[in-house]
């Protein structure tokens, strides 16, 4: 916490400066509100509209959490499966890439037609967004584990399973967190996009409604919330990383984000 206060002021300063510049330029350049509202206008709308808004937020946060947890679990699981079973890896690696290239515009109707309007299709969308960076990062992490240690373990009679859990998995943890950071960032936007699959609540719904009734200020309120959620989420992953990876030498620890 102390270190957060010590370091936190810098990004906050940058963000404050940015908002200030934005505020000033909307005033000086006389940018109309419907085009780009000023931060004060956005904050004002956020406060007055809070009662409408809070319901949407809880619904989206729920989606994010469920989606991210399922997505990263699947990402981890897929990476482990592909790593441990080389045949699987060779056979399915391309399919994983394919999965990242089916645009939502196509997937959306199919998902809704197959799974209806409930949670399921939305979670599938977030999962698709989340699992990929984790799988790729983990697979690369597993591959780069220390050869000498691996040899030591093999000689001592370690099963593949032991080598995996005692060597490759702990070694790949930093890579996993690298992937989790990317995924956590995407999961928020993924949730918002998934709400365009047909939802009655959520930030995504609020945003499209605002956009179609030309309420640019509300659109930006939604963005502010999305951004704050993402930062929070990213921060949680960072804290988890610091908590779990304790063994790093001090000098390096201090340079952690």
């Amino acid at each position: 916490m102390r270190s957060f206060l010590q370091k936190g002021w810098r990004p906050i300063l940058v963000i404050v400066l940015l908002l200030l510049g934005w505020q000033l330029s909307t005033i000086i350049l006389q940018i109309p509100e419907w085009l780009l509202p000023s931060p004060t206008q956005i904050v004002r709308e956020a406060i007055t509209g809070w009662s409408i808004f809070s319901g949407h937020i809880t619904s989206t946060i729920q989606l994010i959490f469920i989606g991210f947890i399922i997505g990263s679990s699947i990402g981890i699981f897929v990476a482990i499966a592909l790593h441990l079973v080389p045949i699987l890896r060779e056979a399915f690696y391309p399919l994983i890439i394919i999965s990242q290239n089916i645009p939502t515009i196509v997937l959306a109707p199919l998902l809704v037609i197959w799974f209806g309007f409930g949670m399921l299709p939305k979670i599938i969308v977030i999962t698709l967004v989340c699992f990929f960076p984790i799988t790729i990062a983990l697979l690369d992490g597993f591959r780069q584990s220390d050869r000498d240690l691996k040899h030591y373990m093999q000689m001592a009679g370690a099963t593949n399973r032991q080598i995996f859990w005692k060597l490759e998995w702990p070694h790949a943890l930093p890579a996993l967190f690298s992937g989790l950071k990317i995924s956590a960032t995407y999961s928020v936007l993924g949730a918002v996009i998934s709400e365009w699959l047909g939802a009655s609540e959520g930030i995504g719904v609020y945003m499209t409604l605002a956009s179609s009734s030309f309420r640019t200020d509300r659109v930006f309120v939604a963005i502010f919330i999305i951004v704050i959620l993402s930062l929070l989420f990213f921060g949680i992953i960072l804290l988890l990383e610091k908590g779990l990876i304790k063994w790093k030498p001090k000098e390096e620890r201090e340079r952690h984000e």
């Binding site: 109707p109 809704v112 309007f117 365009w196 699959l197 047909g198 499209t208 409604l209 179609s212 009734s213």
Partner: protein, 315 residues
């Protein structure tokens, strides 16, 4: 307060008997949909024994959902249903929400575009469909102007006002929403209505749709649904302020001012010159599909009689 009482009344007694129905909108809720929300929140659906859930389709696209049976009813366009039926999508129009095409080519007042001939030398912002060029062409031909003189720019999802900022001179809008918004902003715009220049372009937009299987298997349900919806739109026609308030309450995220103004403008347009709300004419369907076919925009001729039906409208 009125609808609350209704809900309480039904909760205890009739609920088990209600038939669950799904309705998908075309995009976000707007004044085109007022009658649907009125019918739901005034309890008209419940009176008919229906429990209707209204869903926004997002990117999923309403027509496929209706055709596949994921949704029982949907909001669509004549254009979409025509295209869909040519591709074998079993979707049918069951009521016209607005009698005449209220879409127009709009421009900021200072660019002085008041008739199709003024399009010449200007830039049009569209979404890249070949239909747009054909429509422009047939309107400009009336005034001996040449569509080749128009610079057609694809502006994707960009909204009207943003496009106008970026050097686009005119774009295709629904007056009842975007035009009303311009009024509210005190942004004077000129409009060139399609209907003023070509009979054939006076197609129905939007319409209510269902799939062929429903028509075959549950005609009674459709009848109940349409009759409730019809009552809803009737209220919107007779009492636009109350209707607007119902929509605002149902979808509080909409801009209340825009909804009220839009509702006011739209109220007389729902039924317009038709004998009853929802009525569709065969010639409108034939005209438009023939026009599309003649312009090579359709791969085959439409069997217009199968594309719509008036049989479920209340008498």
């Amino acid at each position: 307060g009125n609808n609350e009482a209704n809900e309480e009344a039904t909760e205890g007694t009739e609920q088990q008997d209600l038939e669950e129905i799904t309705l998908v909108l075309d995009w976000t809720p707007n004044t085109n949909h007022t009658g649907l929300y009125v019918a739901r929140d005034k309890g008209y659906f419940e009176e008919e024994g229906l429990d209707v859930e209204i869903i926004m389709p997002g990117e999923a696209g309403a027509d496929q959902l209706v055709a596949s049976g994921q949704a029982d009813f949907g909001v669509s366009y004549q254009e979409g249903i025509t295209m869909a039926r040519i591709q074998g999508v079993p979707i049918v129009s069951i009521a016209a929400v607005i009698q005449h095409n209220t879409s127009a080519f709009a421009s900021l007042a200072d660019s002085n575009i008041t008739a199709p001939k003024d399009f010449e030398g200007k830039s049009y912002g569209g979404w890249g469909s070949p239909i747009e060029e054909a429509v422009l062409d047939s309107m400009m031909q009336q005034e001996d102007a040449n569509v080749d003189e128009v610079e057609i720019v694809n502006i994707g999802d960009t909204d009207f006002f943003a496009a106008m900022e970026q050097g686009i001179d005119f774009a295709w809008i629904y007056y009842g929403w975007t035009g009303v918004e311009a009024e509210l902003r005190n942004e004077p715009i000129n409009t060139v209505y399609l209907t003023d220049y070509s009979e054939k372009l006076d197609y129905y937009t939007p319409v209510l749709s269902t799939n062929e299987k429903m028509i075959e298997e549950k005609p009674e349900t459709i009848k109940k649904f349409v009759s409730a919806v019809s009552k809803g739109y009737q209220l919107a026609i007779d009492n636009p302020e109350e209707a607007a308030d119902i929509l605002i309450e149902a979808v509080p995220d909409l801009d209340a001012e825009l909804v009220r103004a839009s509702q006011e403008w739209l109220a007389p347009k729902y039924q317009d010159d038709a004998p009853r709300w929802g009525e569709q004419k065969l010639e409108v369907w034939e005209n438009y599909s023939n026009w599309l076919y003649e312009n090579d925009l359709l791969e085959a001729e439409l069997d217009a009689e199968k594309a719509f039906t008036n049989e479920f409208l209340p008498n």
